[in-house]
Symmetry: C2
Subunit: 158 residues, 2 copies
């Protein structure tokens, strides 16, 4: 009955990782008087900071799938907690620029640092070919997840 190869196991594993990851995020959020969305917002802002993208309110809301009202209250919340600051953009004064405070960086690090550490330690036991394989898989999967849902194909479910 339906030999389905080792690929299916990998996919379920990845899904399991994402579920567990989401749970940790939620726990961390609760522990710090926040909500899962707030944590994801901090992740996005830290990513934006790392890649030099100017983080604005609207952009953040779009990335999180919130509408403008929700975005405003999210930012209010994070500002109230001292995790970010609003600044009117001087070039285009409709925009609000967001910058995370050092305190928030510290917080983010506390949340993800240990996990990052473990993962790096794990990967240090891999040779170049193996690391490249993991990298290629994640890149490909990210592309697949980002793509709009279209073809389903007659794959065997379970």
């Amino acid at each position: 009955m339906a030999e389905q190869g080792p690929e299916r196991e990998i996919v379920h594993l990845l899904r399991k990782v994402t579920v567990e990851f989401g749970l940790r995020q939620a726990e961390f959020a609760a522990r710090n008087g926040m909500h899962p969305t707030d944590v994801r917002a901090l992740i996005c802002l830290l990513d934006a900071g790392r890649s030099g993208t100017g983080a604005t309110a609207g952009r953040l809301g779009a990335e999180l799938g919130l509408n403008s009202a929700g975005t405003t209250s999210l930012i209010d919340r994070l500002e109230r907690l001292g995790h970010l600051t609003r600044t009117r953009d001087a070039r285009d004064r409709r925009r609000v620029l967001l910058s995370v405070t050092p305190q928030a960086v510290e917080l983010g690090w506390a949340a993800f640092g240990p996990m990052i550490g473990s993962a790096e330690a794990l990967l240090r036991g891999f040779d170049e070919v193996e690391v490249a394989a993991v990298r290629r898989f994640l890149l490909g999967f990210h592309a697949a997840v980002s793509a709009k849902p279209d073809q389903a194909g007659g794959t065997d479910r379970s």
Copy 2:
């Protein structure tokens, strides 16, 4: 300026995947008159069914990090939508057994099928060593994420 090796990139990639994955889940949920939590619940129930674990209300709530009140209303919601059925356990009549309807299986497949298909296609282009590497990484990372947060270590942040 802290040469930080290829490991860090992998971790950020994985985080990106989980964020994107969460977004797709939320979109799918909204498209079907549900909430992100409901989708995660269906995932858990489908997983439980696959591994033969008896799915009970309490167990589901624990996996999702909800308290009993929230769990009850979640189940009410899914039952109302026809995605699961409640049955009192005959052995222990305090328990409520949950079983997903075929309709819900179909729905879950519509949500994750294309993604699973893409990932499998991707992995078919990998040789055994590479697949094994991906598998080992995901297993190790899952273990790391499941572990309680303890050591932080002085790793270089960014």
